[in-house]
Symmetry: C2
Amino acid sequence: MVARTRFDADPCPVARSVNAIGDWWSLLIVRDAFDGSRRFGEFHRSLGIAKNILTTRLRALEKAGVLRGEPAREGGSHREYLLTDKGRALFPVIVALRQWGEEQCFTPGEDHSRLLDRRTGHPLRPLRIEAADGRPVEPEDTVVEKVRETGAAG
Amino acid sequence: MVARTRFDADPCPVARSVNAIGDWWSLLIVRDAFDGSRRFGEFHRSLGIAKNILTTRLRALEKAGVLRGEPAREGGSHREYLLTDKGRALFPVIVALRQWGEEQCFTPGEDHSRLLDRRTGHPLRPLRIEAADGRPVEPEDTVVEKVRETGAAG
């Protein structure tokens, strides 16, 4: 696992992101939140991880401002975890991982879950990397502009 | 860290992806490969991680088919690590993490590296999640269609 303090001040937004998200468990918690999970028990059933691991990940996601914990609306002792605006902004990350997984990580014919457009029932369009003017760009068409103060990669 | 075998057969492409990528170090290695790093020493300088950790991550990325190790073209004992097509297909994942980090993980005015269109020098367009017909979709406009055999979340 990444030593979390290492990237706190990293000038690379990719490193900052992975630092803020935490670990893969945290990202799968975010995935489940997009899929409608709100309660500890829902995340626990979905992920099948130890409760203490889930607890620490939920707290870290709250601290990072990705989830917001609040008392369940119907009362009782339940606590609900909702995506903040910052958390909702992770949707493209989840979609990008999903599309890569669909394309690269299954054998032909193997069943997998799919993210569908609710209105039409069709899968979403594959993500496209575009220049500001809408031209599609390949990795080679891009360059990382580094900042001065460190030697860290972009 | 995620127990890697857990998601080998997961029907969710997000889980398969994180399983195939490995951990955050692995993803930052992939980032550096997009930025032009090829040699062990280049990854090592950029990431500042222990050599044994870098070695195991490079091997895992080779095994996952994301990187391809081969002798350096100019000869010598160097080995170079190049992105495979499967690895190159991770570009949207890196871009999505980068854009989220830029937007959410820096204080105003704080310097960060930027991914620029080589031709114009401008930043790329923010990723848009679109339906098959090009309509922009929000998370609420989507639904995960699960597969039958497990109770795992999509």
